[in-house]
Symmetry: C2
Subunit: 352 residues, 2 copies
């Protein structure tokens, strides 16, 4: 059973719905590339009377609806160009996320004018979710970085991979990094096998997630810097006696950002998909305004509060985010002089 | 847009989850009949690599899971008997209910050992929900009695169908009854057309809902008696000055129980399904113990609180159910001497 830490539900101040503009930038950035890939690569053999699409890790919207609309338009264009009447195709879209995701909120925000049959498939994507060869196009954005569990050894003081006083592998020893990358490899293995069963021959899969340039150290990533900032806020709370340092030692964020080289190896190991495109991009490169650190921290909170709350409890998490917000100016200055690497891995795969 | 009044969510005292044993009796009663119909009537032409099943109006469980398991077992048995290996079939089950249904609770109670791919299709079944010819077997239990809207005229003091001082057609004039049956006819028309598009040739549809013996008056039905009891509790509140009588005049329960004759006519009018079986049964005839009136009222509350709350507000509904519970002894005595008709309509249809 994979561990599950849903995005914040509802539509309040700390909700994912209200704090997912960065993910939207990523979605916008990917829009053109997705349209292009569908036009060039989608095999129309995979399109029958019904074309089924899945968003793996859809969360609670609204980004998932924008992407789905974009995908359907591109498939319709492709069909028209090939002389097929897209009016003859029924589109069925499955929204997938963990069972604990707030599906009630997702359903309440379904676009009323949608041109597809909407369904949800709750459950971990680290396992089968659909009948074999039933999916024409799969999509996953900012979900695969979540590992199915905390890597082995990183919370165990007897292990070489013990990650003392830290909550993430960025800046940690090689043993810790290896424990994380091993877990990512296992998860990708399970994910790719399941998708290979579910996606029809000629069908496409788009994977979007945080990535790291080949050869760059994880602590130089924006994500790593942010996690270290959260970790240092927790260590402050330990110094103040509000929590025990041992509690921090027992906690590690199950999040991983792979490189292009790593990802390529894992896809080739599975062997069922051809890599049509793989690249590391920077979705913020097209955005003019500088990073708003307070907003960035609110985004982190919307997406990651649950994993902290489960371990530390509500009160501590409230204090941790307050402390982190208090450091936002200092952090802003740091970002101005040490602009860290920020990468988005974009992968287009085709089922052989 | 059909009106939506979901069953009470969660798992508290007044939840549907805790108050759906009567519906379970109905499910148990139908179990054997469903198995038999699948064995005799299901056309294996409708069974391919993937067999898709829908429960229209699934609510929040647990009855839906029991039924689905029963259906899958029967389909597997039928395949085995015909020399097909059921291990080669992927079962995908869609749980349908209004968008406002508490799907989060439903998903949290999915049986962990289920042998099928579970999905949800939120939305009104008075309209299309699935791609054409994609469903092998459809099932709906105690959902079709809900009309998509309050019948025309029954809340309008200028209409001949005005239902003054009553909340339901039981015991009302012919014009009121006709307004209800007209609305049911319109709803069934839309429902049957949508299902005819969605169900594959040779596929089956099971419909279970409250029914009335041909020629019997609606006020002689247990359901009618119960609704009159709720109505009289509301009238008591009006007499006490807690609500205005006009509020009662403006409220009508959008619930209808058809006869075998009526249902047969509507199915034949649609023309896309053959009637394999249609009958009025009494699921309580096999149950020894007498009706527990308090429990019956709790069931009504779990299933129908939302429709009252929307119109009268929380406070009034609380008082209405309290008053009704206060009348339960008197009502018990009435039931002992005037055992009203209680019927369950059971229909097996096959897509031509």
């Amino acid at each position: 059973m994979a561990e599950s830490f849903p995005m914040n539900g509802g539509d309040g101040t700390y909700s994912y719905t209200k704090n997912s503009q960065y993910q939207k930038q990523a979605t916008d950035f990917a829009k053109g590339t997705i349209q292009e890939a569908i036009l060039d690569k989608l095999d129309l053999v995979s399109v029958s009377d019904t074309f089924r699409i899945v968003d793996f890790g859809c969360s609670v919207g609204p980004n998932t609806f924008i992407t789905v609309q974009n995908i359907i338009q591109a498939v319709e264009n492709k069909c028209s160009l090939q002389g097929l009447d897209p009016g003859n195709i029924d589109f069925q879209v499955f929204f997938n996320d963990h069972t604990a995701n707030d599906f009630n909120t997702l359903f309440a925000s379904f676009p009323p004018d949608r041109q597809y049959y909407a369904a949800a498939a709750p459950g971990s994507f680290h396992g089968r979710l659909f009948p074999r060869a039933s999916i024409g196009l799969a999509y996953s954005s900012y979900a695969l970085q979540w590992l199915s569990r905390v890597p082995e050894g990183v919370c165990d003081r007897k292990s070489a991979a013990w990650n003392e006083g830290r909550i993430h592998y960025s800046g940690s020893s090689g043993d810790v990094v290896r424990a994380y990358s091993d877990q990512f490899e296992k998860d990708m293995d399970v994910f790719m096998k399941a998708r290979a069963d579910e996606i029809v021959g000629g069908g496409l899969m788009f994977l979007i997630m945080p990535g790291i340039p080949d050869g760059v150290c994880h602590s130089q990533l924006l994500l790593g810097v942010l996690f270290n900032l959260l970790g240092s806020s927790l260590m402050d709370l330990a110094t103040e006696g509000i929590i025990d340092k041992a509690e921090i030692d027992e906690f590690n964020l199950p999040i991983y950002a792979p490189s292009v080289g790593e990802m390529t190896k894992l896809i080739e190991k599975n062997g069922c998909f051809s890599i049509e495109r793989i690249e590391l991009t920077n979705p913020r490169s097209k955005v003019d305004e500088p990073i708003d650190v307070r907003s960035l921290i609110m985004h982190l909170r919307a997406g990651m509060e649950a994993v902290f709350t489960k371990h530390f409890g509500d009160g501590v998490v409230e204090k941790m985010f307050d402390k982190t917000l208090g450091k936002s100016e200092e952090f802003s200055n740091f970002l101005k002089s040490n602009y860290p690497n920020s990468g988005q891995l974009f992968v287009v795969l085709k089922r052989k």
